[in-house]
């Protein structure tokens, strides 16, 4: 498995899906840890 190269549109899809997955992963982790974030107010 490697970065898509040479196929038209492949990089676009990689960016779309990759960024979407990263954003969803961050959101999921944030929801799981949200109570921590709420309790620890930045000074």
């Amino acid at each position: 498995m490697s970065a898509p190269n040479g196929v038209p549109g492949a990089e676009f899809l990689f960016g779309l899906i990759g960024a979407g997955l990263l954003a969803l992963l961050a959101k999921l982790l944030k929801v799981l840890g949200l109570r921590v974030a709420e309790k620890v107010e930045d000074a």
Partner: protein
């Protein structure tokens, strides 16, 4: 020694800058790094050695790798000083110059004793820069000191083991058959990895850098992690574990950056992500990997300084970098926005900027060396970088509903420094031959081939569409996501508090005074109301560990 060592020039300037007030100090802080930069081409292969206490010291040994890193450090120091030109902070000026001197000293150190002394000097100067920001940074500085004392201890232990084994103390590769050669090398690697902010040894960075003054963050972003990258390239090229760690940390930093709501913490996580590329390049150990990591470190120092200048300008003008408290600032801070975007496009690897000519070298080196899964992770981190630094942060701070009051404009020094940094990002991006000619090994890479430009634009467009579709879920939320600092801010602080309580109960006099001091230390260590269970960072770390294992297994199985 027949030559003037750049470190001594910078340290002399630091001592003078600490005493000078007004414009003289500001001019000195800009001029001294530029003078040190002018010295670098004359730095010879070796300027001789001294013998002291039975050690052969060689504090000035230069080659292309050391010159390139030292040049980037001098440029960063000059840009940081220009950014803070109108600020009357002599201690910060001195600390910035001292950091630049120590980082340059690390680059030129030919023996481990000299390197260790410069290494510790860098930690002390960095600590002064953190504490120089005022009472708000006391706790972060204490935690920084605690963590770096452990890292320095690991490095020193490794050096003592080397000495005990009668190994030569010249700084050279400690890698054998793709792994650190023996316990001494592993200890040294642990100490260096901590300064490179390799997870799980990274939380000091995102804790301390956002607590510095705006100019302090700019300076911090340049030195500690990149000096560690230099040592990894010099001492651990070809250590397989660095490929796994580096490619995973590239994604780890990005995931956290997508979650973060403080602009300077977000950018701090991106230091971890970008340093991941360089750590992976060191681990590859091939000529392209080492040159790619060197080129990317040079690019990174420039664009990261520019990005922190942009976030610092928000702190200066609006009083906060919390994205939940910012919005709609474009009309009032237009120059800051556009200059920030130059840095954001550079870190995203957009054509025309320096990230475009340096970042792909490492991915290509990984593919050529058969590390295909690692190359995929690095590519994925590119998309996440554009998502968080070039889309999320500017969208929330500069557009949307108006939040935050601009109480004062950016200073002329700020705008000049941002303009100079943007020009350097653009200049090296448009003329890659200049940078490629200064790398440790020759590079035969043509970034502006049509397919590469088109592929990059496709990647950025796909990421942009993903952001547009998911933008409502990326709103800034006030609060702090603790990371691995939870371990020393909660269990360790509780243990110290308990010890202090026991001491206070035991007696009076000196024991009581000691107990009170320890109690204050514990309060600083914790600083905030603690959460009752491990933070979200732990779950990310388990994922990161699984990915690191997958990188190593995919390499072993040839996938």
């Amino acid at each position: 020694m027949s030559e003037l060592h750049p470190a001594f020039l910078l340290w002399s300037a630091a001592a003078l800058a600490a005493c000078l007030r007004g414009r003289a100090g500001a001019v000195l802080a800009v001029a001294a790094p530029l003078a040190a930069l002018a010295l670098l081409p004359q730095a010879g292969a070796s300027a001789g050695a001294w013998t002291a206490a039975g050690f052969v010291l060689e504090p000035m040994r230069a080659d292309a790798l050391s010159r390139l890193f030292a040049a980037a450090f001098c440029l960063a120091a000059a840009l940081g000083a220009l950014y803070a030109f109108s600020e009357e902070r002599p201690l910060e000026r001195a600390a910035g110059l001292a950091m630049a001197g120590a980082a340059a000293g690390i680059c030129f150190a030919g023996d481990w004793v000299s390197l260790f002394l410069f290494w510790e000097a860098l930690t002390m100067a960095s600590l002064a820069l953190i504490w120089g920001a005022g009472p708000r940074s006391r706790g972060a500085g204490l935690r920084y000191l605690l963590v770096h004392a452990a890292g320095g201890g690991a490095l020193l232990s490794g050096l003592l083991l080397l000495r005990a084994a009668d190994s030569p103390l010249a700084v050279s590769s400690l890698v054998s058959a793709g792994a650190p050669a023996g316990p001494a090398a592993w200890l040294i690697l642990a100490g260096v990895a901590l300064n490179a902010a390799v997870p799980p040894l990274h939380a000091w960075l995102t804790d301390a850098y956002p607590r510095c003054s705006p100019a302090g963050s700019v300076l911090q972003s340049a030195f500690t992690t990149k000096a560690a990258v230099y040592v990894l390239l010099r001492v651990f090229p070809g250590a397989d574990i660095l490929v796994a760690l580096g490619s995973v940390m590239a994604v780890y930093g990005v995931v956290y950056a997508v979650m973060e709501s403080d602009a300077r913490r977000l950018l701090s996580y991106h230091i971890i992500s970008q340093v991941g590329y360089m750590v992976a390049g060191a681990g590859l150990g091939t000529e392209l990997g080492v040159s790619g990591a060197s080129a990317h470190a040079f690019s990174h120092i420039l664009y990261k300084a520019l990005l922190f200048m942009g976030a610092g300008a928000l702190v200066h003008c609006v009083g906060t970098a919390q994205l939940a408290d910012l919005g709609g600032l474009y009309g009032r801070l237009r120059p800051v926005f556009w200059l920030y975007m130059a840095g954001a496009l550079a870190i995203s690897g957009a054509p025309g900027f320096n990230g475009f000519i340096s970042k792909p070298l490492i991915g290509l080196a990984a593919e050529q060396a058969g590390w295909k899964f690692a190359a995929t992770l690095l590519h994925l981190a590119s998309a996440g970088t554009f998502l968080s630094v070039a889309l999320k942060l500017p969208y929330l701070a500069f557009f949307g509903p108006e939040r935050g009051k601009v109480s004062r404009p950016p200073t002329t020094g700020m705008l000049l420094a941002m303009g100079a940094a943007a020009a350097l990002c653009l200049g090296t991006g448009l003329y890659p031959a200049w940078l490629y000619a200064r790398l440790p090994f020759p590079v035969d890479y043509h970034p502006y081939a049509f397919g590469r430009v088109w592929g990059t634009l496709e990647l950025l467009a796909g990421t942009g569409l993903a952001f547009w579709l998911l933008r409502r879920g990326m709103k800034g939320e006030r609060g702090l996501s603790l990371d691995f600092d939870w371990f020393y801010r909660v269990p360790l602080a509780s243990a110290v508090s308990a010890a202090s309580g026991a001491l206070q109960a035991a007696g009076a006099g000196a024991a009581y005074a000691t107990a009170k001091a320890i109690s204050s230390g514990a309060a600083l260590l914790r600083e905030r109301r603690p959460p009752s269970f491990p933070p979200v960072g732990e779950s990310i770390m388990w994922l990161a560990a699984a990915f690191a294992l997958a990188v190593l297994l995919s390499r072993a199985s040839g996938l």
